[in-house]
């Protein structure tokens, strides 16, 4: 709770995706350690799942559709298929209580480091989802399996697969003076600039800044002291080149949308998780998220889809947490565009700590965009007490900002998302969306008219 100067004086530390976590507080540090050991408890289970996916004749490509496919209601079916495949026999399906799995798994080293943690059995209210692949994903895909599982989930739901050659030729097709291309170029260095894999290393400039210092520190003597998290290679241009390729290819193949800030973080995060050497896979997931998961026209010329999502969140906030909503209204800060714009435009990957965001994305990829509302509501709920103590817009929103930025306890967030905010039927979400659409359209038209008529 106390945010003041409770830092370990540890040397440079990076999380699984190359983000600096050396400055986080002691509480957050403890949360990370605890969550890591929970993750490790599921590792054996995931290894078995991956093996059975591979055994099914590399099932992923066989289900891949290379043609366009509409994101229809039969989304659930391929998930059920993979669920059967992964969960295997009935035995596998029943083996769903987390503690049991721990016993069955080949003793993971990390779990001995924090033996106190017994992962809570996470069962739906009706106890049904517990044995499904969906439930397994809610418990978190281990970082080392995400490069396989994320593209698999996207492909199962009809993501279009393209090879790298296709991306290259699409990218080359952009005109030299293309405005989107210029903005992409400008943002390459401004996308997670603090990340190990994405930051610019001035190899030819030697003004001995911090960058150089910690590069040295990690490359020599220190090696064995660095924790066992996989650290992306430092200073490579691979990520930056792959990021450019993805953004240019998307912009070229979606001329009506082009490039919108926000996409850069989504693409970069996918590259950090999936790896630049699998840029085609990363792109498939990227296009899937943008074209099929996010509300249509989220990134268009006036972000109309994002406005719909934001207004929908506002309606859900009022419905779910009337007291908090009233408090925020009183301080004139209940409009979600004040605090949630980046939640929808970057799918929270810029807002949350990376390892937490990855957990949210696990479920977004398996369950769809509704999860983003759950995550948003969960963050609001987790911050509620502190927000209610705020006595003006600034302190209310600051409390929410802190909650989000410091949300290293991914177990707590996921538990709140799926068990702490009550039911959220798709019908309710859709009704709120439909209502928002017309309001947003009117507002945008209104603003446009005002702008164009007032050239006095």
């Amino acid at each position: 709770m106390d945010l003041v100067s409770r830092f370990d004086n540890l040397e440079d530390q990076r999380d699984a995706y190359g983000f600096d976590v050396s400055q986080i507080g002691l509480d957050a540090r403890a949360c990370r350690r605890r969550c890591e050991s929970v993750d490790a408890n599921y590792r054996g289970r995931w290894e078995a799942a991956i093996a059975s996916i591979a055994r099914a004749g590399d099932a992923s490509p066989s289900i891949v559709t290379h043609g366009e496919r509409r994101p229809s209601g039969d989304r659930a079916r391929p998930m059920r298929r993979i669920s059967r495949m992964v969960m295997g026999t009935r035995n596998g399906g029943e083996d769903n209580q987390a503690p049991k799995t721990v016993n069955g798994a080949p003793a993971p080293e990390v779990s001995t480091a924090a033996p106190t943690v017994a992962p809570p059995p996470r069962v739906d209210k009706n106890g049904r989802a517990s044995g499904s692949f969906k439930a397994m994903i809610r418990r978190g895909v281990p970082a080392e399996h995400r490069p396989v599982i994320w593209p698999l989930l996207a492909r199962l739901q009809g993501a279009v697969a393209h090879d790298e050659e296709y991306l290259r030729s699409a990218s080359y097709s952009l005109p030299r003076d293309d405005a989107n291309a210029r903005q992409i170029e400008m943002d390459l260095a401004r996308t997670f600039p603090g990340n190990t894999a994405l930051r610019i290393v001035h190899s030819d400039i030697s003004h001995g800044d911090d960058d150089d210092d910690d590069d040295d520190a990690v490359s020599d003597g220190n090696g064995d002291m660095v924790p066992s998290v996989p650290t992306p290679a430092r200073g490579s241009t691979a990520h930056k080149n792959a990021l450019r390729l993805m953004l240019r290819a998307y912009s070229a193949t979606h001329p009506a949308t082009g490039y919108c800030q926000g996409m850069n973080y989504v693409a970069a995060f996918l590259l950090l998780v999936i790896g630049p050497e699998r840029v085609a896979d990363a792109y498939a997931v990227f296009a899937f998220l943008l074209d099929r998961v996010l509300y249509p026209r989220t990134y268009d010329a006036n972000l109309s889809g994002a406005h719909v999502s934001l207004m929908t969140l506002g309606a859900l906030l009022e419905k779910k947490f009337p007291r908090l909503h009233a408090h925020m209204s009183r301080h004139d800060c209940s409009d979600p565009s004040l605090f949630a714009t980046d939640w929808f435009l970057t799918l929270m990957c810029k807002s949350l700590p990376a390892e937490t965001a990855a957990r949210v994305w696990d479920t977004v990829l398996s369950e769809g965009s509704k999860v983003l509302y759950r995550a948003s509501l969960a963050l609001l709920k987790l911050a509620e007490d502190r927000m209610l103590r705020g006595d003006h817009a600034g302190s209310v929103l600051e409390a929410l900002n802190h909650e989000t930025r410091d949300c290293h306890d991914r177990e707590r967030l996921l538990t709140t998302m799926f068990h702490g905010i009550g039911s959220l039927p798709m019908r309710v979400v859709m009704r709120a969306q439909v209502k928002s659409v017309s309001v947003v359209n009117n507002q945008l038209a209104d603003r446009f008219n005002r702008r164009s008529t007032s050239r006095k």
Partner: protein, 203 residues
């Protein structure tokens, strides 16, 4: 002491890459990054200026054109606005002018505005060949429209504190809280703002 601090909202507007976030970072945290993250939506920071009895709630907005549709939410109820352009980019100056027009249209008489010609270090260095917008032109435009004008550099810190301090001093002095809430409502002037008025009336 605590009781004398007044909250004021300040918004930064301007073209993508003009240096809004860098100016805020320089002012609030006192440093500069060669590569500043591009802003999505708006970033929100606060800075207390005890000597002026002020706490600034700073809204640092995203500059890409398509984020324009969000801007009214961020400048609504603001006491001050900084409109930033990049002295090496004429397009960013044109964009700054259109922001000024938009803000004037909002009809908030009390809004204090400043125009900041940022990246002055690039213009000052060597023969200054990178400069594309002259200080004279900007000064004339600012005078014409009653804006504060300063050339700034987030990199060297030139005029950054001066900019925010000058704005803070020019802000109308603290109205009582009720009156402040009423102001806010007037600015919105739409259905939801009416709802807010009722909400704030009841407490």
């Amino acid at each position: 002491m605590e009781g004398t601090i007044v909250n004021k909202k300040l918004v930064l507007l301007g073209d993508m890459g003009a240096g809004k976030s860098s100016l805020v970072q320089r002012f609030v945290k006192g440093n500069f990054e060669d590569y500043q993250e591009s802003t999505i939506g708006a970033a929100f920071l606060t800075k207390t200026m005890p000597e002026l009895g002020l706490k600034l709630e700073i809204w640092d907005t995203a500059g890409q054109e398509r984020y324009h549709s969000l801007a009214p939410m961020y400048y609504r109820g603001a006491a001050a606005a900084v409109i930033v352009y990049d002295v090496t980019s004429p397009e960013s100056f044109a964009r700054a002018k259109s922001w000024v027009r938009e803000l004037m249209r909002q009809g908030n008489q009390d809004l204090v505005m400043a125009l900041a010609g940022n990246k002055a270090d690039l213009a000052a260095g060597g023969d200054g060949s990178e400069r594309k917008v002259s200080a004279e032109e900007s000064q004339a435009y600012a005078d014409e429209n009653g804006l504060l004008f300063l050339e700034t550099s987030a990199k060297t810190a030139q005029n950054v504190n001066e900019l925010f301090t000058a704005l803070a001093k020019k802000m109308p002095r603290a109205p009582p809280p009720q009156q402040q809430a009423a102001n806010t409502v007037q600015l919105g002037g739409n259905a939801s703002a009416q709802g807010r008025k009722r909400a704030s009336g009841c407490c």
